[in-house]
């Protein structure tokens, strides 16, 4: 196991005050530079001395990266806006409460005061084999220690297991996918905008990275369009304890319902694969159908189609099936179960 030390290895710290300065630093130092947001992921890595960057670029002094603005009925959220700010923002609460609910279930109040939205979606996996500094696939080696006959893998993936079985630990990521958010990625060579679901990478595409961010790039803004404003939302996170814990499985749904018919839906789950998964097949199945127990059951069954249990995580399959079922069925029905 990695030895946890309180003394971080030495690095050169930069605290730019503008996005342009930060990008110039990232461009200058390339893969050697470590981007520090709220530090909730970074300090684990640095204190464990598993990552030893020579340069750390701290974004906390950049005012233009912080804050929430209403734009065309939607929102633009700066990358370093804290989760607490997201939770308490009146427009988020009024029109996009799915995100507020998801953000409010992240860790503990102290952590939410410090953690940033961009950091929450971009954080690395919490697989302890990987974070212990052993040479697993994700760390550039040739084995997944979590996927061996004797592995302790209760929290690991049941879907899209491709050599690595680590999971995305983010709570806000499924909510942002359900809200049809877009991520603005900026570098010295310009900007690119990716859909929330395309921001995340599975091991089959890139086993060493969880997002499409490349050295020199910065996630600067998260845009939430008006598309799903005021829709019917469902958020549920199952974890071992009610505070300060990562999800075992979480589910986020944004749904528009006419009468009792589902006219539009976006559904995403987290902690079941290395990336938060948008369940497009389930969305297609339930669109146009009545919001009934039957539809919800069919959705739950389809959601876990192809799921494979590891040694200790078989429970995640019925858990995910039931969470998707409840998300489609909605709050009223969930309350009676």
């Amino acid at each position: 196991m990695a030895v946890i030390r309180d003394m971080m290895p030495m690095f050169e710290l930069f605290q730019p005050t503008s996005i342009a300065d930060a990008l110039a630093l990232l461009d200058q130092h390339g893969a050697e530079a470590w981007v520090l947001g709220g530090g909730m992921d970074s300090f684990d890595w640095l204190k464990d001395r598993t990552k030893r960057p020579s340069v750390v670029v701290d974004l906390s002094q950049i005012a233009e990266l912080r804050g929430i603005t209403e734009v065309n009925g939607g929102l633009e959220i700066g990358a370093t806006t804290t989760l607490t700010e997201v939770v308490h923002h009146p427009v988020v609460k009024a029109k996009f409460s799915l995100l507020a609910e998801a953000a409010e279930t992240v860790a503990s109040p102290q952590i939410r005061n410090q953690a940033t939205l961009a950091g929450n979606v971009s954080q690395d996996t919490r697989c302890w084999y990987y974070r212990s500094g052993w040479s697993c696939y994700r760390a550039g080696g040739n084995i997944c220690y979590a996927d061996t006959p004797t592995a302790i893998n209760r929290e690991h993936a049941i879907l899209q297991q491709d050599r690595c079985v680590a999971v995305s630990p983010s709570d806000t990521a499924p909510a942002l996918i359900a809200l049809d958010a877009e991520f603005v990625i900026t570098s010295t060579s310009g900007q690119r905008v990716v859909k929330a679901e395309d921001y995340f990478l599975g091991p089959q595409i890139d086993i060493m990275h969880m997002t499409v961010l490349r050295p020199g790039e910065l996630l600067t803004t998260i845009r939430i369009p008006a598309t799903m404003a005021d829709a019917q939302f469902y958020w549920e996170k199952v974890r071992d304890r009610n505070v300060w814990d990562f999800p075992l499985v979480n589910v986020a749904a944004a749904m528009k319902v006419s009468g009792n018919t589902i006219s539009a839906v976006r559904l995403a789950v987290g902690a079941v694969a290395a990336r938060p998964l948008r369940l497009t097949a389930v969305e297609a199945l339930v669109a146009g159908k009545p919001r009934t127990e039957e539809t919800a059951s069919a959705a739950g069954e389809l959601a876990v189609d192809g799921a494979t249990a590891l040694r200790y995580n078989a429970y995640k399959i019925p858990l995910m099936r039931n969470l998707v079922k409840r998300a489609i069925r909605g709050h009223a029905a969930a309350a009676t179960t």
């Binding site: 084999y129 212990s132 500094g133 052993w134 040479s135 760390a139 550039g140 080696g141 040739n142 084995i143 997944c144 220690y145 996927d147 061996t148 006959p149 297991q161 491709d162 050599r163 990478l201 599975g202 089959q204 595409i205 890139d206």
Partner: protein
């Protein structure tokens, strides 16, 4: 530049993980330098061509030979192109992600690997029982040929030795491919036990960490060697003076004139017997 990458296992032991991918760029660069050097050499020595008179005379004396002579049978050509397809699929799926083109490559890679392995097994059986097995191998008997070839090159002569069915360079290439191809194929089959696939049960513990490290290094080194070998093969296949061989791999035959110009009929006798294809 590192040649190998190392890691640490849960028992704190330093373990080999694989070769450094810097070597891929080194192999690509070395391969391209060789191509440029060879192409330059061929341009500078373009005046050295075997005289037409000798071939005219041979053709006149061998009118009884068929106008088209089978060089590669249909089954041999089918093997070659299946193997080529699987080889390109393997190289692209292995190295495109390393150069930054990201896609789900693992499944395509092992499927292409299975195709390559199947084609190698087929080729071994076909070559052993249905072809002139020894015609492709090199041995002490080739030393005089090698000397003559070198002497011709160094003296600027246009009279290099005529060969049997396969020129010496061709046979040396085949030998290299046998070693590298079998190594990459066998190591790849073993590595399949680390990924999920429907052929056999996944078991990452069939070997110790060190043995796994060596297997990955062998597989990676062979993969990189194949980059250079395939690059050279494609280059020679496209060279104008070798293109008649490439065409024979497509259509199966060479002309009587090509046969008499490049081959020694005593070493590859196609008279009086059904031509043996390869």
């Amino acid at each position: 530049m590192d040649f190998l990458t190392w890691g640490r296992n849960p028992w704190g032991q330093r373990i080999l993980t694989h070769i450094s991918w810097d070597l891929f760029w080194a192999a690509l660069f070395a391969g391209l330098i060789f191509l440029v050097a060879h192409a330059s050499y061929m341009i500078l020595s373009s005046n050295r061509k075997r005289g037409k008179t000798e071939t005219d005379a041979l053709e006149a004396a061998n009118k009884d030979l068929p106008a088209l002579i089978t060089r590669h049978s249909f089954m041999a050509r089918a093997f070659h192109w299946v193997m080529a397809f699987s080889m390109f699929a393997l190289l692209f799926t292995a190295f495109l992600p390393i150069v930054g083109i990201r896609f789900a490559w693992v499944e395509w890679h092992w499927m292409a690997g299975l195709l390559l392995t199947a084609s190698i097994i087929y080729h071994i059986i076909h070559a052993t029982f249905f072809m002139d097995f020894w015609s492709i191998w090199i041995g002490p008997k080739d030393i005089p040929d090698f000397r003559a070839e070198m002497a011709a090159e160094l003296s600027g002569s246009d009279e290099g030795p005529k060969t049997g069915k396969y020129p010496l360079g061709n046979r040396l290439y085949h030998l290299a491919l046998v070693v590298v191809g079998l190594s990459v194929s066998i190591s790849g089959m073993v590595m399949m036990s680390r990924v999920r696939q429907p052929i056999f049960e996944r078991n990452p513990y069939i070997m110790a960490d060190t043995t796994w490290g060596l297997t990955y290094v062998l597989h990676g080194a062979c993969g990189i060697a194949l980059v250079g070998l395939v690059l050279a093969h494609v280059y020679f296949a496209l060279r104008p003076e070798k293109f008649w061989i490439t065409k024979s791999m497509l259509f199966g035959t060479i002309t009587r004139r090509q046969y008499l110009e490049h081959h020694d009929p005593r070493r590859w006798n196609v008279k009086g017997s059904k031509p043996v294809g390869r």
